[in-house]
């Protein structure tokens, strides 16, 4: 990847790249975003996590000016989201493959570059840089419709940053790609962040957020219910507690009843309990034995982002 073309033009004197203040949006009776406030700094990747229908996409679309909020304010480097300055500073990678199937990779990038006001040598330079960034230089002449799923995703990302924005919004950019392509996408995002771009990254994959994001905001029912670094979130949610995961043999209804009585829950047939001290494990196992449950295996686990997410948003299906 060539590194001689600066991706972003952030200056030290620039105000905060993105500020969201008490943003609200309803669709009829449904409150999609409910008083969200966020701040994003240069060179920072903020993970936006939430179950389906939590309000992530509405929030992203409000930032790019595609949704008019009912209340609140979005400012990009001090400019309103709908202003030309904000549009120039924002890059959006939508969840859908928003590309022209009958255009080649190069033509797609050139088209979106022109829509952002690029032309001449600057456009040519940006297209070349984006192709290189997305590892698509050797497929520049291929039609979008003939690319693999991973290549389409990378092209979709490249089209979102063709104008070299300083704030990039990525809405689940790794949906439906294989591990190799996903890894390549991670590298692309890391490269962007290293060059000073401020990134909001929405995903359902906790390991992606753990790897890429400096901070994480968890959104549910339109509200930010927790935000901080991974460690901060785990600590604020579980403090020094750990998780015990145990599997038992025996009738499923008896196991379920016993797990419920001991403030645990079943996940894929395994019982999960939160404990303050490791000494509590012995007591739990004794109780299980007295209840006639045969222990198959037991694991002590430190809570992670997924534990935090499930703890805060619950385990009920959302759609």
């Amino acid at each position: 990847m060539s590194a001689n073309l600066p991706l972003v033009n952030a200056t030290e004197s620039s105000p905060t790249p993105l500020e969201i203040d008490c943003l609200s949006k309803s669709f009829g009776e449904v409150i999609a975003v409910d008083g969200v406030s966020l701040e994003l700094h240069a060179g920072e990747c903020l993970g936006l996590l939430g179950p389906n229908g939590a309000g992530k996409s509405t929030l992203i679309r409000s930032i790019v000016g595609r949704i008019l909020p009912d209340a609140g304010r979005v400012s990009v480097f001090g400019f309103a989201a709908s202003s030309p300055e904000a549009r120039a500073a924002l890059g959006w990678v939508p969840q859908e493959l928003a590309l022209y199937p009958r255009l080649t990779c190069k033509e797609n990038l050139a088209a979106f570059g022109r829509y952002h006001g690029l032309s001449g040598g600057k456009l040519t330079e940006s297209v070349a840089w984006c192709l290189d960034w997305a590892a698509l230089t050797d497929r520049a002449g291929d039609l979008e419709k003939n690319l693999s799923g991973g290549m389409k995703r990378r092209l979709n990302m490249a089209a979102g940053i063709i104008h070299r924005p300083r704030v990039v919004l990525m809405d689940e950019p790794t949906v439906g790609v294989d591990p190799q392509s996903r890894n390549r996408i991670f590298e692309m995002i890391e490269a962007l962040r290293d060059k000073g771009a401020a990134i909001i990254y929405t995903t359902h994959y906790m390991e992606e957020a753990e790897r890429l994001c400096d901070r994480v905001a968890i959104i549910d029912h339109g509200r930010i219910i927790a935000q901080g670094t991974n460690q901060e979130l785990v600590h604020s949610t579980f403090a020094s507690r750990s998780q015990v995961v145990a599997r038992f043999a025996g009738p499923a209804d008896e196991v379920s009843l016993w797990v419920e009585q001991h403030a645990g829950h079943l996940v894929d047939g395994s019982a999960e309990f939160t404990i303050e001290h490791s000494t509590e494990i012995a007591g739990l196992l004794d109780d299980a034995a007295h209840a006639g449950l045969e222990l198959l295996d037991v694991t002590l686990r430190r809570p992670n982002l997924e534990s935090v997410f499930l703890h805060l948003t619950g385990r009920e299906l959302r759609d």
Binding site: V64, R66, W92, Q95, H116
Partner: protein, 432 residues
């Protein structure tokens, strides 16, 4: 096993409104349109406009004029219609103004009864001395002159009995040796009775014409095409325009439908999140669709020139003006439909329905001049009719570009109105 398959198919069809519309509404709509055109519903059978010039003003010519006026399938006019009812009537047509009116497309046929017609109106047995009625016609309408010619002979048979009898006596005198005084006296008496009956019928204003009186060529008629007489391929330009406009509508609608694809794929959202505004986007697509439609029309006319000897290159200015105006109107039509519809399937169904109906009523499938008057008027609500009329003026009547102002104005106005509507409706994509 077969029943579940049928059940699944029926459920699918019932939930696909587009397919339902194409399956049931389109055939019914088409059936109704053609039933009205050919079935003569509501007493609106097509009447042929005929301009009549009586240069003779004899008893025979007046009888003939009255006979033609009584024909229910003819709309006879002896003078141009005044623009408003309170204005004084315009002077009667002359031979020259009648010919000009046919050339301008005001009527497909003009009949000119020459001076001296009344002295020798009947031409039994190819009597060359009989003055010939001139029948001036527009050769784009192949049916009207033949109908008028036949009805002229019918009118002669039914509206001029006295003249016929007098002529018969004249021939008897000439070829048999004449009547005796007694025979002549009785003949004159009968002729008087005939004249009285004829007068009473005139006063009653009724048409006593028999349903089928036949025609034996008793009136000498000299037919002459005053429009299209020197055209090598008479109807090619008409069909190039009529078929062309119909397919232009399909092309423009299909092309505008890309907007729906882009909305569905999220590309539209992405484009609108850049510097491109909805007005810029729709404007760009309108220009592209206009150029696409014009190119399609140009290719069709070039094909007509190369294969069917269509006289394209002597009509370039008119073709450019009409082609661009038509392309603009159909492009705006496509944009409006695309902005109204929610999905491609919906657009496909609605556009097929509308375009085929517009094409049927507007003359793309069947010349409008052969339709009932009400249908001809209904056709004026279609792009097809105005476009075809304009192309006909250019390629058939060889009229200069200035004469296209009506068609150009209407097509441009239609295009602007439809585009403004499309822009308003497209606000649904702009911002939520």
């Amino acid at each position: 096993m077969i029943i579940p398959i049928i059940r699944t198919a029926i459920t699918g069809l019932c939930r696909d409104r587009a397919s339902l519309a194409l399956s049931f509404i389109l055939p019914i709509a088409f059936f109704s349109i053609f039933a009205v055109i050919f079935g003569g519903q509501h007493n609106s059978t097509a009447r042929i406009n005929v301009i009549l010039v009586d240069e003779d003003h004899s008893r025979a010519s007046l009888d003939l004029v009255r006979g033609l006026e009584r024909e229910s399938s003819l709309a006879v006019s002896t003078r141009p219609a005044s623009k408003n009812k309170s204005a004084a009537p315009l002077p009667e047509y002359t031979a020259a103004s009648a010919e000009a009116a046919v050339k301008a497309g005001n009527a497909p046929v003009a009949l000119i009864i020459p001076q001296g017609f009344g002295q020798n109106p009947i031409s039994f047995g190819g009597d060359n001395s009989a003055p010939q009625i001139q029948l001036l016609n527009d050769s784009s309408d192949m049916i009207a002159p033949q109908m008028v010619s036949g009805l002229l002979q019918k009118a002669a048979m039914t509206a001029m009995p006295v003249t016929m009898a007098e002529k018969g006596m004249q021939y008897t005198d000439q070829y048999i040796g004449g009547f005796s005084p007694e025979q002549r006296k009785r003949m004159d008496g009968n002729l008087d009775q005939l004249r009285q009956i004829e007068s009473r019928q005139d006063a009653a204003g009724s048409s006593s014409a028999p349903a089928d009186s036949g025609s034996g060529g008793m009136i000498a008629v000299k037919a002459r095409s005053v429009v299209g007489q020197d055209k090598r391929s008479p109807m090619i330009s008409f069909y190039a325009a009529s078929i062309g406009v119909m397919f232009l509508l399909f092309t423009a609608t299909g092309s505008a439908g890309v907007l729906l694809d882009e909305a569905e794929s999220g590309t539209l959202d992405r484009v609108l999140s850049s510097r491109v505004t909805m007005t810029t986007l729709l404007g760009g697509k309108l220009i592209y669709n206009t150029l696409l439609a014009f190119t399609q029309l140009a290719v069709m006319f070039l094909w007509g020139w190369a294969v069917f000897k269509l006289d394209l290159f002597t009509h370039i200015p008119g073709f450019l003006v009409m082609g661009l105006c038509t392309a603009f109107a159909v492009a705006a039509f496509g944009m409006l439909l695309a902005s109204i519809c929610q999905t491609r399937a919906q657009l496909g169904a609605i556009s097929t329905l509308l375009i085929l109906m517009m094409s049927a009523v507007g003359g793309s499938m069947f010349p409008r001049f052969l339709m009932p008057e009400a249908m001809q008027k209904a056709g004026l609500f279609t792009i097809n009719a105005w476009a075809i009329d304009g192309f006909t003026k250019v390629f058939w009547r060889d009229l200069p570009v200035g004469q296209l102002w009506q068609q150009v104005s209407v097509l441009l106005a239609v295009g602007i109105v439809l585009f403004v509507l499309a822009r308003r409706i497209a606000r649904r994509w702009e911002i939520a």
